[in-house]
Each structure stands twice: as C-alpha cells, then as structure tokens.
Symmetry: C2
C-alpha cells in the first residue's frame, strides 16, 4: 500500500465520524459500540412511525399509478411526485443522514435535502458510479458489491454481467474517491467487517444479517428460508420488480429468469407479480415471493439488533488482535 | 467470532505451512517472504520447461480431437489420455503440490498423484464443492470467488447465476471444512491479502496481478489491455472455450454472449473460435481474443514476480499494523 497509509486510514475513520459525533480522536474500540447505539436508536427506535409514513406514501402512489393504467414510460413524472412528498418529510424530520439508492434525485431536490444539514449517501456498484456520486456532492459512498441482497444500486449501466464483487470493488472505489467509503455486500459477521476495513472501507453496511433480528419485519416463512440458506442459493433477478436485485432462488426466478428481457419496467413488475404472489402465498407457497438476501445469509444469528451490533463490533476488534498475534507473534 | 478463534487461526497457519516447510512455529512475518521465494522458484524458475511440455501435450491432444471431427460427447475418453500423460509427468517430476481445476480426476489417478507424496489442491466455487473436495482427500481448498479471472473451477453445477463473491464465499468455506482454505478472486494487492486473512483464509492465490510481471508470457496487446482496465470491464463468458471464464469484455463476448446457450462444449469452443481469432489478430484486432482477467486488474503493478511477491507480503504486514494502530490507538 502507498506510503502514509496509516495517516490516510486514520483520517478516513475520523471523517466517517460525522455519522454520530464530532470527536476526531475517537478510537475504533469506542466508536463501534456508539455506532451500535446510534444505529439502534435511529433505525429501529423513535423514527419508526415517520419512516412508516414515508413508506405508506410511496406505496400509495405506486398503487395509484398502476390502477390508473399508466405504463413504465409515465413513471418518471409520477416518481417526481413521490420524491417531492418524501423531500417534504425530510425537511420536517431533519434526519442526520439521507441515503439514496439508484443514484440521486435531481439537483434541486438534492439541494433541498442538503440544505437541511443532512449528510447524503448513495450506493455505487462501480468506480464510475462512485466518481459520479462524489462529483454530485455525496458525503460518503456505499460500495455495493455483487454479493449484496436486495436491489442493485446500479444507475449508470443496466448490464448485470459486469457487476463487481466486494473484494475487488472496495479498494478500487477507495482509490478513486476522497470521501469515506462504506463497504456492503457479503458482510454478515466480524470476519467480513474486519476484511472490509482491511480493504480500506471506513464503515460497513450490513443488511441480510439483521433480518434474523426479532425487530425485523419479515414473515415467518422468510425468516425460515434465511435460516436454511446456503451460499449458492441466491441470484440477481429482475422478475420481481423490473430492476436487478438479489433474492433466494425460487420457482418464479427459475422458470422466468433469473434475468428476463421481458420483465416489466421498474416498479411495475411488482404489481404484475402481485396477484400470482397473493394466490400462491394463500396456498402456503413462496413460489412467487421475493425473499431478498445476500450471499452470506448463513452467517446470521438470531439476536436483538442492538446486541448483534455490539457483538459484531467487539468480535471485529478481537479478530484484529488475533490476526496481529498470529502474524507477528504474541 | 467463535471462542478460541486465535488458536484456530494459529493452527490454520501452521497447517498451511506444508507448502514450504515443516517448522510449525514460523511467524507470518517470516513466512510470507519464504512463500515469495518458493513461489518464484517453483512457478517461474526451473519448472518452466516441464510445465511447457505438459501444456504442449494437452494442446496437441485438443488439436487432434478437433481435426478428427469428434464432438463434445467424445471428449471424455480423449481427456483420459491427456490425464494419463500428465499423471506420468507428475510421477516423473514429483512436484510438492498438484493443483487441479474443475474438480478432481478419477480416484485411481488421484491415488497415483497422492502416492508421489504431492499435496493435492483444487478449487471450490461453493460450500458444496469445498465439502466434496475435502471428502475426496484434498489437502487444501482454493475458495475461488466470483471476481477471479479465467476459468471458474465449478464442477457440481453449471449455473453461473448462483456463483458466490470472495467476501461471502471464504468465511462460509472456512466454516465448512477442516483443511486450510486459500482465498482467490479479486485479490491483487496487500489490502486484498489482509482482507482474505481476516475472512479466515490460510493463504491467498493471486492471478491477474502477476500478468503485469515481465516473466508473464502474455502478448503486448494483452498487457496493454490490463493496464487500461477498470473494475467493470470483465464478464464471465463461455464463448471462448465452452466453459465459464472471466475475461475482458470484447466484441465477441458482447455480440454472442457473454454467456451463450449454443457455445460448443469445452474444450471444443476454443477450436471453433481459432480461425476468427487468427484472422482478427492478423488485422491487429482483439475482437475474438480472450484476455482472461479478474475484477481487480487495475491494482496490478509492473514488477518482477519475486519482487512483487515480497512487496505484497511486506505491505500486508504493514497494513495489519496500521489497522491495529487506527483501531486501538498507537
């Protein structure tokens, strides 16, 4: 690695701390439990009501579009209405962080969000996307590797075949941008966290592993599917929503996809699958139900979210010490 | 991570040392430069002539099959002849390690190889494959992530859509087998090496980064393509050989693939592409030439192989110290 790496790493950790505090000298050992606390408070505590309200608005709009018989081509305009509604809520709630997916909204909306003082994050699935996000003023970039569950944040390409794995993506994004990089994709335990830091990430974003938590609002069937998961039982598919997303392989993905050239445009595909899904779910089947999942689901544990976060943080530090001992002697 | 992780890690490092020495107490700091030395001697030094002889035999056989008009269905039998010829060479050369791809040869051949005293390695692209290889007596398993350049070692499935990224694959394979795990895929600098160790790997296998070395027998055009590479310019394709392999995207891959249902069976596809390739190469084009590459090619540096190896080893240790300092204070 380049000279002065330690300094750079140190600066990166310090930069990343705007997420929860202003103390520039906080050590990782102190910082991870704080992250746990803040994450818990923010994601799972008092914000729940308002987040639900945001979701309800988005859902209501999507239903309106579909029942009006509008097509994918009309969605851009209506999407704007949803974005405005959400932006009003951001102005009201004033969250410290606003994290986007699928790129960023238009410049005026982005400025409104930034003017609330919120730090803006978005996902990049390539170096190109990371550079674009930095140029648009993102305060940190989520490097979303191929392993990640749910929707790919890709927005400069629709070509799934060139999507990049976390191990290759993170260091190349770190080299390309000056803002902190948050690693995502295939990280579900302390080993992945430490690996992400080794690659140069300033933080990690963990998704699927938190679906095991009692707080997660997933169906018993979804929960059960995750528990029995193996590494090679997910695929990236566009058949559920029209956009590529990683889910546990099921009948619908096997028979129609996993990628299909004729899937309706996002987000209309979801509505076209809905009747099939409803009927099969009533019959006790998950043949048409998307169970979003990353490739490291099997590493999850059933713990309350706050406890899991603290445990992961403590274990990452413990692993770091072990690695040091093994590599350089006690 | 589980209790006693340090002990396990230490044991794993010790186990892995059969690759170059018997001293069970060697520290990583000593061990990486030795690995550099042995790798250099073994891979790039005195073995070159005999390895070339092996390759020539395999190539000659492939040409014979194709010019005889035999089809993919006939290949299994002829493949056996190539395997026997190679096995004779193993008996003669008695290498310390014999590393397979695409699973393992049949039990009798494998026994002949093992009876020479060679340690046997092979690649797994899933936990299923890793367990299978361990059951067949592999002494170490290469966990080949989705990011890796060249042929996928996959042998229990032909489904490319469920292939697993290195970040997710390595810890799940480490949990599933008792033998040492060698991480491969997307590792091209010291950050990747340290990340792989953090994931529980006992060693790493680096491919594309060594193609920058003056010792690598790649064409000037291939070398030039690697230098200009970005993270999202490769894809897994079967159009060049009939088996999925990661290469730099070119015209042939774009127009016919990257994956094609009608690609001739391995290894016959290579011969069908050969005339197109020869003609386009004479015209100065690489439209039909496979430039195998992993997703982290951009991280490579032009250094002699031995020097690169030593530098990577030293930097991995330096990075480990930096991470320790940043995380837990000086």
């Amino acid at each position: 690695m380049r000279a002065g790496h330690e300094r750079v790493l140190r600066a990166r950790f310090a930069d990343a701390q705007f997420f929860w505090e202003t103390d520039q000298k906080c050590r990782l050992a102190d910082y991870l439990p704080k992250l746990a606390h803040v994450t818990y408070e923010r994601r799972l505590g008092s914000y729940f009501d308002k987040v639900d309200r945001m979701r309800a608005i988005a859902r209501w709009l999507a239903e309106q579009w579909f029942s009006s018989g509008i097509t994918g081509g009309d969605v851009a305009g209506s999407d704007r209405a949803a974005e405005l509604a959400k932006c009003d809520l951001v102005t009201e709630i004033r969250p410290e962080i606003v994290s986007f997916h699928f790129g960023l909204p238009d410049k005026n909306l982005l400025l409104r969000v930034k003017s609330t003082g919120a730090k803006v994050l978005s996902s990049a699935t390539s170096v190109d996307e990371a550079r674009w996000l930095e140029d648009q003023g993102c305060d940190a970039i989520i490097a979303q590797g191929f392993e990640a569950g749910g929707h790919r944040g890709m927005f400069l390409t629709e070509d799934v075949s060139t999507q990049v794995g976390t191990m290759a993506l993170v260091p190349q994004v770190v080299d390309a941008v000056r803002v902190p990089v948050i690693a995502a994709g295939g990280i579900a335990d302390a080993r992945g966290i430490l690996a992400a830091f080794a690659l140069g990430a300033a933080a990690v974003q963990i998704g699927t592993a938190y679906l095991y938590c009692p707080e997660a609002q997933v169906s018993p069937r979804y929960r059960q599917a995750l528990k029995g998961m193996r590494d090679n039982e997910t695929a990236i598919t566009n058949v559920f929503t029209g956009r590529p997303a990683r889910a546990i392989v099921n009948r619908f993905m096997r028979e129609v996809g996993p990628m299909s050239d004729v899937a309706p445009e996002f987000p209309l595909a979801a509505s076209t699958v809905a009747p099939l899904r409803a009927k099969s779910e009533m019959a006790g089947s998950a043949d048409f139900t998307p169970f979003w999942s990353g490739q490291a689901a099997s590493l999850g544990r059933e713990l309350p979210a706050a406890e899991l976060t603290k445990q992961l943080a403590a274990e990452a530090l413990e692993n770091l010490k072990s690695l040091q001992t093994v590599a350089c002697g006690a």
